[in-house]
Every structure is written in structure tokens, then in C-alpha cells.
């Protein structure tokens, strides 16, 4: 194994670790919310990170088939985000988010009175 191959192996391991951390942080945002668009955005980012994951695994294993999987996942993620955006536009704010927005507005108005 040449020097460059060893460096590539090290890069693959390091980037898989970094991507796993990014995955976990994004999951925290999806769970915490607080609103529906935040969760949709988190899912969109999750798809982007997963595409990177698949590309790195493709480099690691040498199977060229992984590029097709990444393309298909990108297409599905784009369509899912568009569909979610249409859903938000169609149905308005969720009941929880409406209550939270009203509470925040009352809180920000009080100090001026």
C-alpha cells in the first residue's frame, strides 16, 4: 500500500466520524423543533448528509453502484421537501406553533406597556 492509499483510508475514517457527528446534531434539531418548518429543514439536511455518507462509503468500498443510490436519494429528498413545503402552504401553521407565536408576541409586547 502506497502513501497516498494510506492517506485516503485515513480521510475516509475521519470523514465518516465527522459525518456521524453531523447526523447526530441534525437529529437533535429535528427532535427539538420547535416549529414544523424547522423539522422539514432538518430532514432536508439529513438527506444531504446521507448523500455524503453514501459517496464516502463508495470511495471506501470501490463499488461504483453507490453513485446511483446517491442520485436517487437526492431526487427523493428534493421531492419530499417540495411536497412538505406545499403542505405547509396549504394547511397553514400547526395549532402548537400558533399558540407559541401568540405567547411570544404577548411576551415581547409587555415590557413596552
Amino acid at each position: 500500500m502506497s502513501w497516498a492509499e494510506g492517506f485516503l483510508d485515513f480521510a475516509v475514517i475521519l470523514s465518516l466520524t465527522i459525518l456521524a457527528i453531523a447526523f447526530l446534531i441534525t437529529t437533535v434539531r429535528i427532535i427539538r423543533g420547535p416549529t414544523l418548518p424547522d423539522r422539514i429543514l432538518g430532514l432536508d439536511t439529513l438527506v444531504a448528509v446521507a448523500i455524503g455518507f453514501i459517496a464516502v462509503v463508495g470511495v471506501k468500498t470501490g463499488f461504483n453502484l453507490y453513485i446511483d443510490i446517491a442520485l436517487a436519494l437526492g431526487l427523493v429528498g428534493f421531492l419530499a421537501t417540495v411536497a412538505f413545503a406545499r403542505f405547509v402552504l396549504e394547511h397553514g401553521m400547526t395549532a402548537e406553533d400558533r399558540t407559541e407565536t401568540r405567547l411570544a408576541e404577548e411576551q415581547s409586547r409587555e415590557p413596552t406597556q
Binding site: 485516503l8 446534531i25 461504483n64
Partner: protein, 119 residues
């Protein structure tokens, strides 16, 4: 050999950009600024990692598919996030209180101090 080293560097840089997108998603205050972090950095990260896959592949078909995939992501990510931001703004999700100006709100009192006032 040089291509392999460049591919390794691109993998690491792409992973770091994905991490920056995730940290921005966690730390920024409202959905619109989170979108600013997540869309740009996330797309750049996954695009760099797919380009490095194109660099190490010895097959011409794989290289063209990887480049086509990167172009596809660069085209679709702004469209998706713009649609989401527009939908969230249209149904009434508020900006962060620290935002200085809301250019889509014509009755915004904060616009009084802005140089260009429309009424």
C-alpha cells in the same frame, strides 16, 4: 497518486462543511437563518464528496454520473429551500426578534429607519 491525495482532502473538506451545516442548524435562532446555513453548506459538502468519488473512480460512466449528480443538487437545493421559506413566511412563521429588517413586510415599524420607504 496525486488524484488520490486530492480526493482524500476533498472528502475531509466536504465532511467538515456538512458538520458546519449541522452546527448552524443547531445554533442559529430562527428557521430562515437556519435555512441559510443548512442549504448552502450542506449542498457544498455533499457535492464535494460526490466529486471525490468521481476522482477515485476509474470508470468514465461513473465520473459523468457523479458530475451530473452534483449539478442536479446545485440546481434543486435552492429551489427546495426557497419554496420552504416562502411557504413558512406566507403562513405566518415569524422572524427572530433580533432581525433588523423584514423586506417582505410593508407595515413593519422597523422599516421607518430604513433608507428606502415604500407606502
Amino acid at each position: 497518486m496525486i488524484l488520490t491525495v486530492i480526493a482524500g482532502i476533498m472528502i475531509i473538506v466536504g465532511a467538515v462543511f456538512a458538520l458546519v451545516a449541522a452546527v448552524g442548524l443547531l445554533r442559529l435562532p430562527d428557521v430562515y437563518s437556519r435555512m441559510h446555513a443548512a442549504t448552502k453548506a450542506g449542498t457544498l459538502g455533499s457535492g464535494l464528496m460526490m466529486l471525490s468519488l468521481a476522482l477515485v473512480a476509474d470508470d468514465f460512466a461513473t465520473v459523468t454520473r457523479a458530475i451530473a449528480g452534483v449539478i442536479f443538487f446545485l440546481l434543486t437545493a435552492p429551489v427546495a429551500s426557497h419554496l420552504l421559506a416562502r411557504a413558512a413566511y406566507a403562513v405566518g412563521y415569524r422572524l427572530w426578534d433580533g432581525s433588523l429588517i423584514d423586506e417582505m413586510d410593508w407595515q413593519d415599524s422597523r422599516k421607518e429607519s430604513a433608507p428606502e420607504k415604500r407606502n
